[in-house]
């Protein structure tokens, strides 16, 4: 695969629109819950509040990308609901099981995941094609994690498909994805809600949409066991990182935390309209303050 066009050099120029450093929308990891960001985006558009940069992590990168490409919220929702469906993880990679069970016989390396990623790659190719970060109307940043060093990697140029695929490389489920010679895994492993990227890129007001990873009600398989461990680590990392960035930022981080009365599973795509509505509701609650704040905060 040719990934040479995907760079991580922070000095590189990014998308066409200049960053004025005002409002950033940061969408953290959270599987289908990330659709709440579309509701938040709808509320901001309705109120005429411009978003100057979008940062996406893990499934949040799917939604961040469609927003940044300039689609209206309804189109974004249609595109995203076609992308993120349960059958994405329904194709086991049987060879991966054999490689795990008999590593000497079948060979084992870091390019390992239990699920075949052909379907999600095909879906993403259909949705994003060859579009790159340069096609984004709003500066877009997608985060992943370097598999070998654990560092956060901010992708800002190159093909969107590659950046998103790296950002959603859920440990154990999908193979890490190589971008620009670096092996990358899911962005949530380094920061589930990458507010720091928006701070570094000069945002003043940061709207952060984050979600805690759900805990298992019953641990009945090795997969659920691994998922539970992942949730424990991720949620503690989320709190530590969000606390640090909230205290370190010179201006304002507005946490938009939708309230979901309904239980939402990882691939409850059918609940996307409900999730979007809750995101819109949570954002709408913050709009009066956001308006007053934007009137008071000088443009960078």
């Amino acid at each position: 695969m040719d990934t040479s066009s995907v760079a991580r050099d922070p000095s590189l120029p990014h998308a066409p629109r200049a960053t004025r450093g005002r409002v950033a929308l940061v969408i953290g990891s959270g599987s289908v819950k990330c659709a709440a960001a579309l509701g938040a985006y709808r509320a901001l558009q309705r109120e005429g509040i411009d978003v100057d940069m979008v940062v996406g992590c893990s499934a949040g990168s799917l939604f961040a990308s469609v927003m940044a490409l300039g689609y209206d919220p309804e189109t974004c929702a249609r595109m995203a609901s076609g992308l993120w469906t349960k059958d994405l993880t329904s194709q086991p990679d049987r060879r991966a099981l054999l490689r795990a069970a008999f590593p000497r016989l079948f060979g084992f390396d870091a390019h390992w995941g239990l699920r075949n990623d052909a379907r999600i790659m095909r879906r993403m190719e259909e949705t994003y094609g060859d579009r790159t970060f340069a096609d984004a109307r709003i500066p877009l940043f997608i985060t992943a994690t370097d598999f070998h060093t654990g560092e956060q990697v901010v992708l800002r140029s190159g093909r969107l498909v590659d950046a998103i695929r790296a950002s959603i490389a859920i440990p154990f489920a999908f193979r890490p994805h190589e971008v620009d010679g670096r092996l990358l895994i899911d962005g949530f492993m380094s920061d589930p809600l990458p507010v720091g990227v928006a701070i570094r890129e000069g945002a003043n007001v940061i709207v952060a949409i984050g979600f805690e990873s759900p805990y298992q009600s019953r641990v009945t398989s090795a997969g659920r066991f691994a998922f539970q461990l992942s949730s424990i680590m991720t949620n503690n990392l989320l709190k530590a990182s969000f606390a640090f960035h909230g205290l370190a930022h010179h201006s304002e981080v507005i946490a938009v935390i939708p309230r979901f009365e309904q239980r939402i599973r990882l691939f409850d795509t059918a609940k996307m309209p409900y999730i979007i509505d809750e995101g819109e509701r949570a954002m709408t609650e913050q709009v009066p303050y956001l308006r007053r704040l934007l009137a008071a905060v000088p443009a960078a």
């Binding site: 984050g210 805690e212 989320l238 709190k239 530590a240 969000f242 606390a243 909230g246 205290l247 930022h249 201006s251 304002e252 981080v253 507005i254 946490a255 935390i257 913050q286 303050y289 007053r292 704040l293 008071a296 905060v297």
Partner: protein, 115 residues
């Protein structure tokens, strides 16, 4: 944002109503600072009237908390609404701040001068 100060024996109750955010944080910083400079370092922030707190609000809480503790006192929260509690929890503040269900419990949590 409205701030009301109520002295209860050895504890100062600072009742806050409204939002604690970048636009209102300075008023709370001043109110808390005035209390501490007057020697009132055992503080209870009554949050039943707080609808929202942002990162700027959290920075005020942290600054007050550190100064109160440096002066031998403490800042404790009472009656935090669910919505605000979620922000405090997400930001790790519930691990460093003591929260109580009501003002009475928060006030009672401070030992008396003579104990």
């Amino acid at each position: 944002m409205e701030i009301t100060i109520d002295q209860r024996a050895h504890v100062t109750v600072v009742a806050v109503a409204g939002s604690i955010d970048a636009l209102t944080a300075d008023a709370l910083v001043r109110a808390m600072g005035e209390q501490m400079h007057a020697g009132n370092t055992r503080l209870v922030a009554a949050f039943d009237g707080v609808e929202y707190t942002s990162s700027a609000g959290l920075r005020v809480l942290l600054a007050t908390l550190k100064e109160a503790r440096q002066r031998g006192g403490d800042l404790r929260l009472a009656a935090v609404q669910e919505r605000v509690l979620r922000v405090l929890d997400l930001s790790g503040f519930t691990s460093i701040l003591k929260c109580y269900p009501d003002v009475g419990a928060a006030v009672a949590s401070f030992p008396s001068h003579h104990s």
